[in-house]
Symmetry: C2
Subunit: 343 residues, 2 copies
Amino acid sequence: MHLRKILFTLTVLFTVTARAEFKALPDKVPTPADNPMTPEKVELGKMLWFDPRLSIDGTISCNSCHNVMFHGGDGRPVGVGIHGQRGGRGSPTVWNAAFQTVQFWDGRAPSLEEQAKGPLINGVEMGMTSHDFTIERLKKIPGYVEAFKKAFPKEKRITIDTMAKALASYERTLITPNSPFDKYMKGDKKALNAQELRGMKLVDEIGCTSCHTGENFSGEGFKMGEGNYQPFPQIPGSKYDKLYDITADLGRYEVTKKAEDKNKWRVPTWRNVAITAPYFHNGKVKTLDEAVRVMAKTQLDMDLKENQVADIVAFLNSLTGEFPKQQMPQLPNTVNMSLTPEP
Amino acid sequence: MHLRKILFTLTVLFTVTARAEFKALPDKVPTPADNPMTPEKVELGKMLWFDPRLSIDGTISCNSCHNVMFHGGDGRPVGVGIHGQRGGRGSPTVWNAAFQTVQFWDGRAPSLEEQAKGPLINGVEMGMTSHDFTIERLKKIPGYVEAFKKAFPKEKRITIDTMAKALASYERTLITPNSPFDKYMKGDKKALNAQELRGMKLVDEIGCTSCHTGENFSGEGFKMGEGNYQPFPQIPGSKYDKLYDITADLGRYEVTKKAEDKNKWRVPTWRNVAITAPYFHNGKVKTLDEAVRVMAKTQLDMDLKENQVADIVAFLNSLTGEFPKQQMPQLPNTVNMSLTPEP
């Protein structure tokens, strides 16, 4: 038996003994001390979120890939940025991202604030030439100058940091409570049916919840090494490695360049997973049942029976929450002129 | 003197004698007898409007180019469709489009319903392979099947026609009343300042309103030949023809192939024109003051003084209306699967 497999089996056994502690989604999100939420920041962040002028040619907003009207992702295998460029990874849902301890598939940002700064200046995504250029453009839009003053009354200037704080504040409003699972956890024992309950028991017994822990099922409070990073595949060599091109992207290794981080990833959330297909970092798996089969085999070395797959899929469907109603922002205009000429 | 110029001078003289009848924006939009507005149709149309799954690869929605949160256009010279493809013309604002008697720059659609069917199957825009394919995709989304039943209870199937009717119904909610101009027209004589009133008088006196007539300033009720089509330039030969590449696109001629339609265009609206830069069919003019200079020269053979340009720009700014608050739709999901694989 492969040493890694033996060690992992021991880990799973230990976890199964310890049992996962299922948790309902909290009513409030964690908020950093230096960025308390205010209605003014949230409103500013919402405008910025939807503004395509944050991309060089005015075609891509945050919402283009993380569509809050559409489960928070784009429903595609990989994101698409300026000039039709395809990114390397799928667009993770922004809904409930506020509960994650790290952001991006490879966890390279420790907060929503840091995450927000990345895509702006990524040449494949929004393609702004620099953060300074981004701020210079915002300063030409009188409505933003005013909105920043209201949101950050002590700041004399618009900066990339206040911009990121506003975006993060808006993202912290994007949570989906009251899934059937949450109702069940809060005492409504009829909220889950027999199949969903079988699935809930099964994901715990076979070890899925050794990684998918916490209120967001994305490993909150679960620390291994430097963070929540897990190898995918945990047990290499299954047919799925090649079928879905699992190992081509080295994941966390691309951030740290440490050999032990090859093919490691942040644990993705299970919340709303039923509506955020396609699956995995490269979006190559199109259906949830297949994603369950892949995970069982590559992470737990298990060939699930089809009724087990169906039970787990039923449970995962019970994690689809309620999307709060939101008012559309109206983006501030530049009067008598355009800001996004063809670059 | 060029014969065309003489004829046009006579037209202007006649118009100036007749004087434009300025009209406030009506509270209600014209609605075709076979598509009465209902809340269910509007709600369905709003979902469709924002749904990127109406494009082949799930990247472009109606709202990508006609952004209702952002003055109804995209703020760019020309629209951008799937795979980063640049269209040939600017994206006209959808706000108040319901008042236009024809749609598209070249007027090739006689109604919002007909207009809605075009971009879906345009290879540069949304790139769906056919209307049938579009409907087949919608039928796979349970939430749409239900929403179509509610919106069209007598229809047994989803069709391209009911889809277009729903989109048009939503677009008919997109009107911007209560501009300073509208307030003035309704009796608030302080709503326009002295400069704006000078501009209002000037656009009438010099003949701008011989084409920019009606409540939308887009030639409603103004019929010439087969419709509202006007040559641009009216008087060829100015420096602007080459400077802004005005004549390369043959406009209405591309629809009719009649020689007399070369370089003819629908009269574009003045409403919200101050916030919908850049200007003209090819988006080559970046500022409103320059657009005024170009129009005066190419259409009326006038070299305006700078104070006249400023007065007209001031008046045009008074046509920026109020954008009603809207709730974001939540797009219906496909459960456990994705509908937009990489094509």
